[in-house]
């Protein structure tokens, strides 16, 4: 990276308000060609608004954006692309019914004369894919493509418009470590081609592994830009939250009680095989492994949303009927699902309605839901979980990711479960809320709750779990106690030790 060159893109004192909320309040960002630049900040720090401004979705109220020395035209996604800024969103928005070739060129299909030239489009797309060293059939439709592959298609799309600035918004959130490695090598290749790559992530280790410089935002303003080589992780966190986060993963010792859940020889064709474990009162059992190793499938089967072929799930000595989530709930199990927007919440419903939805039967008198009691339940939990909101009647879609997750937790804790399953409990949540969630889980465990925690974040599993079950390709490849578990051990089990050394 050569700082003598002028920046390819610079944002100066950007301000933007939505209604009464000041989303950007002095945002600065300078990007140089040939660098990978991390953009950090808690949820609500203004990263998304800044990204969306560069993507052409929003227009700043004040401040300037300069691209290659010229004023950047804001407010049109198409014009943002034409000017050379491409955004790869966390959840890529491909067109499932169109071929990969057409996805790359969608909205500006290659033509000969007035007509779309399919052959040329396929040829050019294939060339771009092979340049990045990715082997994908450009004539297949995008339906069924993994998230990682979808991101690659988006990156190819960015290359096809000769983007100088490529922004990746939390690209690794849903990738396995192998896919992350591939993405990193693609990002480095883009840097070598003199692109400016912006990398947004909540995972600091990734930022330190990949990026050259970082810009940290807080409360809508830029609080600092540093070379990654000069930065210290704890200080970065301090910059992000504006306070010291002393313990990120504060699981405290709890007295383990009786075995409450026993999983015996659980098998599901093509998903997982021979799963055996027990969970005790007050214990947090971590399920570690790569994305796609069958962790979510197991907990879904335990809770009865999916069925299984063989084996049994035993709660307090009584086998649970399979594929019956209503009975699982009655037996005291709760499941906080992986995708809170899709499976965890009714987005347009109020906080109160979402919190009390697991309790509806208890809140009904004479066929009518008692709104007062609903409100009371929601109020209690909002206080316990330190939920940030303006009114309990607000739709949950208006809350930040971290607060949404708290509502999902509240919904299940309200049922006073014996066993709580949490699947990626802190995905896409800022550092501050993350440690609150950890503290809460730890406290619930102390009070005797048995917790099964699925997590892709190694520090989270290592910090929180009393025991760790490691999965690889649908099999249980090891169980580690808290004392035995090290990052190296878990990773080598999850990836296959031979692969590591």
């Amino acid at each position: 990276m050569n700082q003598v060159n002028p920046p390819v893109l610079s944002v100066l004192a950007g301000r933007k308000a939505f209604g009464g909320v000041q989303a950007l309040d002095g945002a600065d960002l300078n990007l140089f060609p040939g660098e990978i630049h991390a953009l950090l900040g808690e949820n609500g720090a203004g990263k998304s608004t800044l990204l969306k401004t560069l993507a052409g979705v929003h227009k700043l109220d004040a401040g300037s954006v300069t691209l290659n020395g010229k004023s950047f035209q804001q407010g049109s996604t198409r014009s943002a692309q034409e000017q050379g800024v491409a955004v790869i969103y966390q959840e890529p928005s491909l067109f499932p019914d169109l071929t990969l070739a057409e996805n790359v060129f969608v909205g500006r299909q290659l033509q000969s004369g007035k007509f779309v030239d399919w052959k040329k489009m396929r040829r050019e797309a294939a060339t771009l894919f092979s340049q990045l060293g990715v082997d994908l059939d450009v004539s297949r439709t995008a339906r069924g493509l993994s998230i990682a592959d979808q991101q690659i298609v988006e990156i190819i799309k960015a290359l096809s418009i000769n983007a100088q600035v490529i922004i990746m918004d939390e690209p690794t959130a849903a990738l396995s470590s192998k896919e992350v490695d591939r993405l990193f090598s693609v990002a480095r290749r883009l840097r070598d081609q003199n692109c400016a790559v912006v990398f947004v992530s909540h995972r600091l280790d990734e930022v330190f592994a990949l990026c050259d410089r970082m810009t940290v935002m807080r409360d809508g303003r830029t609080v600092g830009t540093e070379l990654v080589s000069d930065a210290v992780q704890s200080q970065v966190i301090k910059m992000m939250v504006g306070r010291e986060v002393s313990e990120l993963f504060p699981k405290t010792e709890a007295d383990l009680g009786e075995i409450v859940l026993e999983v015996k020889n659980l098998c599901s064709e093509g998903q997982f095989q021979d799963i055996n474990f027990t969970v005790r009162e007050g214990e947090i059992l971590g399920l570690a492994g790569l994305v796609g190793s069958g962790r979510s499938e197991i907990v879904r089967a335990i809770f009865g949303v999916d069925t299984y072929d063989q084996g049994s799930v035993i709660v307090n000595g009584t086998p649970l009927r399979k594929a019956d989530s209503a009975r699982a709930m009655a037996a005291g199990i709760g499941l906080v699902p992986e995708d809170r927007r899709l499976e965890g919440l009714f987005m347009p419903y109020s906080i109160a309605a979402n919190t009390s939805i697991t309790l509806l039967e208890r809140l009904v008198r004479k066929l009518v839901i008692r709104k007062k009691d609903e409100q009371k339940v929601a109020e209690n939990w909002a206080k316990t979980l330190q939920l940030k909101f303006s009114s309990l009647g607000d739709a949950v879609e208006r809350l930040s990711g971290g607060n949404q997750q708290k509502v999902v937790l509240a919904k299940w804790l309200a049922t006073q479960p014996k066993i709580l399953i949490v699947d990626e409990p802190t995905r896409g949540i800022d550092v501050g809320t993350k440690s609150e969630v950890h503290r809460l889980l730890s406290k619930m465990a102390q009070e005797g709750l048995a917790i099964i925690m699925v997590s892709s974040e190694l520090p989270e599993v290592l910090g929180m779990a009393d025991r760790i079950v490691v999965m690889r390709e649908g099999r249980q490849v090891g169980t580690l106690s808290r004392d035995e578990a090290t990052p190296e051990k878990v990773i080598s089990l999850a990836t296959g030790a031979a692969a590591l050394r």
Binding site: R78, F95, D97, L98, V106, V116, L136, G144
Partner: protein, 325 residues
Amino acid sequence: MSILRRATRFRELPVLLGLVVVYLGTGFLNPIFFSVSILNDIFFGVAIVATLAIAQTFVIVMRHIDLSVGSVVGLTSFLIGDLSSRGFSLLAVLFAALLVGATVGAVNGFLVGYLGLPSLVVTLATLYIVRGIFNEVGKGQTIVESMVPKELNWLGLNRLFGISYLFVIVVVLMLIAGVLMQRTRAARDLYAIGSNPSAAGLVGIPVKLRVLAAFTATGAISGLAGAVMLARFNSSSTQSGLGLELLVVAACVVGGVSIAGGTGSVFGAVTGAVLLQTILMAIGALGIPQFWQLAVNGSLIIAAIGLDRYLSTRLRSTNIMGASS
């Protein structure tokens, strides 16, 4: 494998196979079915629904629907007869029909595209509104043969190389619309909108404008289809075109134009219409009580949607990256 994969990509294959099976099967049971006159009846009879199905494809690929077409086609068939009996030239009355259809389509398109109202409800409303206007305009009147422009009359009675001119119109329209849908950017945008509505705007597609344009085109063609209807029946009354919209949607769905948007072709829609018409004729030829026709149509729709779901879940389970890693 590659042949199989290519076959599953060819979405019109199931409906074509269905058509062949029904045609050959019925002919096998009752050889009269293979006669030229039956074939003519199929082509002649399907023309209206096929024309409307071509028009309907534009909106269905956008994950929308236009239920107002039955009322539109009825109204314009009446207007064409009525206006030409008052001495207007054929060209002028056709233009009027096009204009009426395009206007209704533009209203639908504006309400759906710009105001974001659901197309199902909007076009249900315009279905009633247009029918209501029709009832007022055509109060008690009936267009009879003498009022039908003689050119349309001629088109309905004559054949080109043994094929009804009405079906020739369908084929020409299908070819033009087919090329446009496959090979122009604006039409490809419709597929993108239907495949992922929220992403379409993000890649710079002018979604509102496209929705407006597509509904307008659907309305315009449906308006012109009034001429086909008049040529076919040589009459029109306020009952004309009643309930036709559902048959049109059925033809599209059976022909592989997915109601979930993003896929399907005008060729498929026409083939779907021909299949439904062939089944109608087959039921007659086999002496099966007529009411079974509706039940068969219904079953076909479910079969088409089931097949659709099956194919897309099959595709979902293939992961190319997984295979290479």
